[in-house]
Symmetry: C2
Subunit: 127 residues, 2 copies
DNA sequence: GTGCCTGCAAACATTTTGCAAAAAC
DNA sequence: GTTTTTGCAAAATGTTTGCAGGCAC
């Protein structure tokens, strides 16, 4: 019999997960660490990285790479807009026809996608 | 009078640029370095990074982040497909209606976009 | 000759990892 | 009690940078 690893629910996992679902600002690991530390003062940055990686692997969090990794706890399929001036990442809840591309193209089996738009946000464009 | 910096064409820039235009495998900086070293044995990795960054800034090269940075010398707008098993990056020359998203959304001014599809390529799916 | 660019190596920032103690089950 | 997870700190990785000499113009 192969012993199988059963995941355990720790307060670290729960609180990081809750935090990511409650914010919309796509924080980096460092920022998640700082925020979560308010509730769990003894947590370490390494743990934050480990938990973020496992949440991503499970599909409960989406990673957005912009210089460094940022994390989005909203897993409904959507796009991201990154302002090249202020670096803010915002959500765009609008479907793109990637599904259509899938069908037309025969590269293989498509499981997910990431779409990032780059430009200037309204605030930065007007200044 | 503000003195203005005029760019100079060096063999390093020319050969890296040529190399990226001649391949379709989306190499990392390290791989570009190894390949270009065949023609320029004295080139350094730092120079490769500097030139890749400047080409990207000028829009002559597209950066694809997948764990590390990969570079695409083909600047015609297209999508990328990454196999989650063999990590190969392939091009998909097909337009997506991101333009349409732009018009519908009013986040600001959109300058460019990156679309990455993740899945299993045909070879990996059948094994 | 002027000043941009390179090679080198050291520095940097982010992320990963090994290990012993702690917590979950 | 067993096994997973954590905190800590050190290591690893990819990338950037300062500087002196080299090369483009």
């Amino acid at each position: 019999m192969v012993s199988q690893k059963t995941e355990r629910l720790t307060s670290q996992k729960r609180i990081i997960s809750e935090h990511l679902k409650s914010v919309t600002n796509h924080p980096s690991a460092e920022i998640v660490y700082k925020e979560v530390k308010k509730r769990l003062p003894q947590i370490s940055l390494g743990t934050v990285y480990r938990i973020l990686a496992s949440l991503e692997k499970k599909g409960e969090v989406v990673e957005i790479t912009h210089d460094i990794s940022h994390y989005d706890g909203n897993t409904s399929p959507h796009l991201h807009f990154i302002c090249e001036r202020c670096d803010r990442i915002s959500d765009i809840f609008r479907k793109c026809d990637v599904i259509q591309c899938q069908k037309l193209q025969n590269v293989g089996q498509i499981n997910s996608y990431k779409i990032i738009l780059y430009g200037f946000c309204k605030k930065c464009r007007n200044s």
